[in-house]
């Protein structure tokens, strides 16, 4: 996060848009002058090529900048390790500044397990090139060849022992130069800081009550706002006599702008009481428009779609005899952040500053500016950590809410936090999906043909477009919701990981993109890969059974990529997987594998599930994962991410579905949207990391999501003796399957 968040007045004034975004302007200049098709430097240096957008050395010491947002993944610590390593300074010598439209490069969203690839790679290369510049400057001053000099602990050292501190070598705009395409990177065998399980820099404040989150911000004179959201999508405010509300204790203002309704009070609980009172005087006209949640299979496949064949291989010489077909469904699912979305906004001298836990300060700035109908230069967004988001939750909406309210109270900082039912009821959910699979086996038990069809909405309705944000949709004179677009392959959205990584002689993959969105949706951790990997890896185990083969052996039989084979073999070995093994009574074993997006980290997970045959209740007993995410920066960080992915994905897979009637969302708290609790936490989760020194960073935030789902589903099938294909795999569905 960008701390400290308890800013004093002087800092706040300085933060009111006064900082000049010199390198952003320089970026545009650089892009104009870059020859088309010329090779670009790696990672986000390709779009923000100036070295001082990433590394600065000045009176404040050494600072590394990233346009990405720390969301609890721990990459702020990893970036500090990378910068320290390539600059040859101790870990403690680096300060990291995260996403801020006033200070950092525009790296779009912090999403898609891209932070290490984009920003980590940029910092790695920028740091190496800065080190080379420092050596060159010392060489010039000493009149010695650069190759005779070395760096050590923040200094350039000559053979005779003369040293120049980095701070003494940097002058003027020395680092304001464009990155070279290639950097002279250190040999991974010499790494001292990278590859180590360095403790996270943010954890001490979080476990001692330090100001760690946007929720903890207290600006001088700050007031508290609460929203009265419409009770349902499309509801219109017909009547609202606010006169009694304005007289309530502490109330500063009631803000009504079309269907956008909020109340501001001096104290937080005063705002909550006023919100409750306001909600009783607000009358809404609601309309039915939600689909039948009990028949999502037909709802989703019945919507108009734009269809495209995204993968096709054909070998007419190979044909199958035994065939299998299956349909898998996923409901709408909630990000379910523990802390409801929050933002602080302040209008000062025509500049709106918003402190937000958005994943994308630059695109969100664009959205807020569109909503306020001001130029983006009049809006500054500063990322401050919030509760974990796992994709596009209410963070951006809360930023817009705060800005729309703060515009009515110039000079006064306004903090808005959503209530629990607002977070659950209004966040953009992970989209419902349907997949239909069909395959055939040849004489040898190998897959001869493979057909895969996926039906899905887009998986990103993030701003940029101001119309993506609730406040802009609800205000009078609203902005239109932008047309949904499918996210392009190779990364994809609904079709992410829809193309099989296995080698099949015949394969046909179709993406049915559904523009119409009856339920508000957007990006949720792993996007379509969660359901597509669940489907593919469930089906692979079903096919293995049909072939009479062991599920691990069956996967290896169709897998060429040596790194893929390595994680599969590692997970199987560490789990103690044995061909033909039988789990204890009422237990089952499951296995699954994927390479995230078919181009990022590899992850295989073996699991053991126990089922209570009386109640149907499933419990993950243990899970063993193997992961290859390229060069390891912080092994404990990767383990933490993959452990978390396994437990969260298990919770999605066994328990979670957004519920609604034809008018309103009905899963609005933790009673109506239950998630994993400690009674169902496994006995053991092990993560084994395969390090690939010198290989590109592949990221690890999302790689476990799909494999965990399928591994658990396969173990449930193994334990129950029945295959379940409709998520979530609830106690009742398992009980019904056992009793059938």
């Amino acid at each position: 996060m960008n701390g400290p968040v308890n800013l004093d007045r002087r800092q706040v004034l300085a933060g009111g848009g006064a900082l000049v975004v010199s390198f952003s302007l320089s970026d545009a200049f650089a892009q104009e002058h870059a020859a088309a098709g010329a090779p670009k430097p790696p990672g986000s240096l390709a779009t923000s090529p100036y070295l001082d957008a990433w590394i600065r050395i000045d009176a404040d010491g050494i600072t590394a900048f990233t346009g990405k947002a720390e969301l609890g993944q721990g990459f702020k610590t990893a970036f500090q390790q990378i910068a320290a390593e390539e600059l040859d300074v101790p870990f403690e010598a680096i300060k990291v500044v995260t996403a801020d439209t006033g200070r950092t490069a525009n790296e779009g969203y912090t999403a898609g397990s891209h932070s290490m690839q984009d920003s980590g790679t940029a910092i790695l290369n920028a740091a190496a090139q800065v080190r080379a510049l420092l050596i060159a400057e010392a060489a010039r001053r000493l009149d010695l060849p650069a190759e005779n000099l070395r760096t050590d602990n923040g200094s350039v050292v000559a053979p005779d022992g003369r040293r120049f501190g980095y701070g003494d070598l940097v002058a003027g705009d020395m680092l304001h130069v464009q990155a070279e395409v290639k950097s002279n990177l250190k040999d991974p065998a010499t790494y001292k800081v990278m590859g180590q399980p360095v403790p996270r820099v943010d954890i001490p404040a979080k476990v001692t009550g330090g100001a760690a989150y946007v929720q903890d911000m207290r600006l001088p004179g700050m007031v508290h706002a609460r929203l009265v959201r419409p009770p349902s999508y499309g509801a219109e405010l017909t009547e609202c006599d606010t006169s009694s509300i304005e007289k309530l204790p502490g109330v500063v203002k009631v803000v009504r702008n079309g269907n956008f309704l909020a109340v501001v009070a001096k104290k937080e609980f005063q705002a909550i009481k006023a919100m409750r009172a306001l909600s009783t005087v607000a009358k809404w006209n609601e309309k039915a428009g939600l689909p039948n949640q009990n028949d999502l299979l037909h709802v989703i496949t019945g919507l108009p779609s734009k269809d495209s064949v995204i993968f096709e291989v054909s070998n007419p010489a190979v044909s199958g005899q035994r065939t299998l077909e299956a349909t898998y469904t996923r409901p709408y699912q909630s990000h379910g952040s523990i802390g409801p979305s929050c933002a602080v906004a302040q209008l000062n001298n025509d500049v709106m500053t918003v402190w937000t836990h958005t994943q994308g300060v630059y695109p969100d700035r664009q959205g807020v500016a569109e909503m306020l109908r001001v130029p983006p230069a009049k809006v500054r967004l500063i990322h401050v950590e919030g509760s974990g988001c796992y994709g596009h939750n209410g963070a951006d909406d809360a930023a817009a809410d705060a800005a729309l309210i703060a515009r009515e109270l110039p000079g006064i900082p306004v903090r808005v936090q959503w209530m629990r039912e607002q977070e659950h009821g209004w966040e953009p959910y992970g989209p419902a999906m349907v997949t239909k699979l069909k395959a055939s086996l040849d004489d040898s038990g190998a897959i001869a043909s493979w057909n895969f069809e996926v039906w899905s909405n887009t998986h990103s309705m993030r701003p940029g477009g101001g119309g993506c944000m609730l406040a802009a949709q609800h205000m009078a004179n609203p902005l239109p919701i932008p047309e949904p677009k499918p996210l392009p392959l190779p990364e994809g959205g609904g079709d992410r990981n829809a193309i099989p990584i296995y080698k099949f002689p015949n394969a046909h993959v179709v993406h049915h993109f559904i523009p119409s969105m009856p339920v508000r949706i957007s990006a949720m951790r792993a996007l379509g890969a969660y359901h597509n990997v669940f489907s593919i890896e469930s089906f692979m185990s079903e096919l293995a059974e049909l072939a009479g083969a062991d599920p691990v052996e069956f996967r290896l039989k169709h897998l060429d990529d040596p790194r893929a084979r390595d994680v599969v073999e590692k997970a199987a070995k560490e789990f103690g997987w044995q061909k033909g093994q039988k789990a204890p009574q009422d237990h089952g074993y499951g296995f699954a594998f994927a390479r995230y997006k078919n181009l990022a980290a590899y992850c295989a997970i073996a699991s053991e599930v126990e089922i209570n045959r009386e109640t149907g209740r499933p419990r993950l007993v243990r899970a063993v994962a193997a992961v290859d995410s390229g060069q390891v920066v912080n092994p404990d960080g990767i383990a933490n991410q993959v452990e978390g992915a396994i437990l969260q994905s298990m919770s999605w897979t066994l328990y979670e579905a957004v519920t609604f009637d034809d008018v309103r969302i009905t899963s609005i708290d933790w009673q109506t949207y239950p998630i994993l609790r400690f009674d169902a936490v496994p006995e053991k989760v092990d993560v084994h990391i395969i390090n690939r020194p010198g290989q590109p960073f592949l990221g690890s935030g999302e790689t476990g999501q799909g494999p965990a789902a399928a591994s658990v589903a396969n173990a449930v099938a193994n334990a129950a003796g029945k295959r379940l294909r409709d998520l979530p795999l609830t106690r009742l569905k398992i009980k019904d399957a056992i009793d059938a």
């Binding site: 403790p199 001692t208 009550g209 523990i338 933490n640 998630i675 400690f678």
Partner: protein, 163 residues
């Protein structure tokens, strides 16, 4: 005005008697650790200790706290001088986003004060009230076990400074 004892100090609180303790701690006393998660007593992010017991501060009004002693995470230790439970969570790196962690720690602290050597089943059962969305549960369990061990050791060496 209501007098409220928090972390060993008496405070004069200017808030309505129906104000939940959570807002007294956050707004009146500017304490960060107790978090708003649901306001419904469903998630445990707001957990603090009142007279030795873990309490959901979001559903506990000020008027019920007369004469009672409130302890928050801030009252246990600091970054410079962490309490055993804080040390344990740092050493186990038991956080991702960390939003639920203060509540987890306070509930665990209450358990350890009452039951210094809990079994794994006791820890799981105690933490049942508290939700974590990042999936940090395995580390949280390890950290509570470690805290029990640290407190045990601390009692031997410093005569119970473990709070």
């Amino acid at each position: 005005m209501t007098t409220l004892k928090v972390n060993g100090h008496d405070h004069e609180i200017d808030a309505d008697p129906d104000t939940p303790l959570l807002y007294v701690l956050r707004d009146e006393l500017k304490l960060n650790a107790a978090k708003f998660g649901c306001g419904l007593g469903q998630c445990g992010a707001c957990t603090v200790i009142v007279d030795g017991k873990a309490v959901l501060s979001c559903v506990t009004p000020l008027l019920l706290l007369k004469g009672k002693e409130v302890t928050t995470l801030e009252g246990l230790g600091t970054v410079e001088k962490p309490a055993p439970i804080q040390r344990a969570f740092i050493e186990e790196q038991a956080a991702q986003c960390g939003y639920c962690i203060a509540g987890m720690m306070m509930r665990a602290q209450a358990l350890l004060q009452r039951t210094p050597k809990p079994t794994d089943a006791q820890i799981r059962s105690e933490l049942q009230t508290n939700l974590c969305r990042c999936g940090t549960h395995m580390r949280i369990l390890r950290a509570v076990h470690r805290a029990a061990h640290l407190m045990d050791t601390a009692e031997l060496t410093t005569n119970g400074s473990a709070q």
